[in-house]
Amino acid sequence: MAVSERALELLVGAALPTGAQFGRENFAGDPLVQRFCEWAKEMLKVEVNIFVSWSCPPDVSILTSSGVNILIRSERFDTLLVEYLHLKDAASPRNPLTDLVLPPATLRWMAEFLLGYRWPQAALYTAIRAHELRIDPRPPNPFRDEALASVDEVQRVALQCFCLGHELGHLLPSQYDAPSLDTKVDGLSLSRHISRDIEEGGAAPVAEQMMAQARSSIDALNLLREIDADLIALELVAVFVANTLGVPAKEALQVALTAYEAQSFLYATKHTCALLRRYAGRDDRAEFTREDWIAGLQVSVRARCVLRRAGFLLSRWRAGDEKQTAATIDAMFLESIEFRNDLATVAQGETEHLLNTLPALNAQEGRPFFDSLIETARSDSEVRLDLFYMLIAMGFPGGTDPIGWLEHLFEMQQAGS
């Protein structure tokens, strides 16, 4: 169905936060990403209008309405994925500074997500804390072209294309008649993955209660749709990378899995920020913990399904023994398990700190809390520079005054309270 450009722009604008900029994606500087999108659309037999957004917090999403599909790609999200990769390289087990490197990086991402959730006082507190903890004399590179060029082409293409493949995957209809946590994906039920997660988390004594909690809280159809989109993206990216860049199947899957890992962590962190916004400064700690656990459980189930499928794909492409290829994929997963565990621990610790420190969203203490932080930012040129770089990375114009913008955001938030 032909829809006017104006109508598409209306739909995109309505889906983005006020003040966001957007335009038709022309893939300037990203010819391989363009090729991937064209090829993926052909493979999946879908039609989609692709837009790019900036001057807004990072997000990638797909909009569907009668006959119209729109994918909104965020310029900032690509560079967030690159930052994750660099952090992974920097925080190697042999680096004695790993404990000092992870917290500021995590906090900086959280600050951006909190800005996206229109909570400027929390974003500012988090950004200042990130700055205070940072040991690198320079903030992350805010310039997109330079950031993307800092990663080798094969991994970069996987990073940029995985989220697009996931969203395109959402355009395929669901195939589940009676979805539940007992529905199987590649021969294993979601509940089996959940059980394994509970056991590996050391919670076997309360496994029954936790499974009951999972069954009552998780939307099984939604989870299955997300898993389907992940699996479609995994195969699309691995095949594209292998065929277009001439890399072996194992390497193609490895870069696709790394892209998935980065995307998965960043979005889990984003969701934690959404929960912080709801629960900070309130007495619902148990509810926060429950919701956070349920969200984390779904992330884990998705990852398990992706790894399982990666094993099957490798087996199919290399005509190898299934146990052997499963072992190969397991080895890929285990290679960075220490980093992921350390990062998760840091993220949890910082979340706890923010939950204990931030006043509730519309609390009266919000204003003096914000005023004190904005004075800190105003009087510290390094903090101001850091905030400026954060906004530049998000695509805001070079003339944006971070202090002025945060004050404006705060007044808008207060006016809505």
Binding site: A15, P17, S66, A229, Q263, Q298
Partner: protein, 106 residues
């Protein structure tokens, strides 16, 4: 007369019902679009239309009622928006939008 962008974000059932309610007030096209992201959370449904201010004014009570039921995740009148609003906050947002647009004209 200038038109106003109205966007209301909610769950599927609320969006569908709201669309039916508002369709009775206008001939303007009302689109409901589903938004899915990477995070895996349940999809948002965004009801979108552009209409003149008097028509949108007639729609505001329906949105206020949904907000009272805590069914509204985000509402936007032009460049004015708010997340998870109460019914009072929707009313206040609409009044702020009107006041700002009256100022722009004078």
């Amino acid at each position: 007369m200038q038109t106003v962008l109205l966007a209301v974000e909610s769950d599927e059932a609320t969006s569908s019902q709201l669309r039916k309610d508002l369709a009775a007030l206008t001939d303007e096209e009302i689109v409901v679009q589903k938004r899915e992201g990477l995070g895996g959370m349940v999809a948002d449904f965004i009801m979108v239309l552009q209409a003149t201010a008097p028509i949108v004014a007639a729609m505001v009570p329906f949105i206020i009622e949904r907000a009272r039921q805590k069914k509204v995740r985000r509402v936007r009148f032009g460049d004015f928006e708010i997340d998870n609003p109460s019914d009072e906050q929707v009313r206040a947002l609409w009044e702020r939008f009107l006041a700002a647009n009256t100022e722009r004209k004078t």
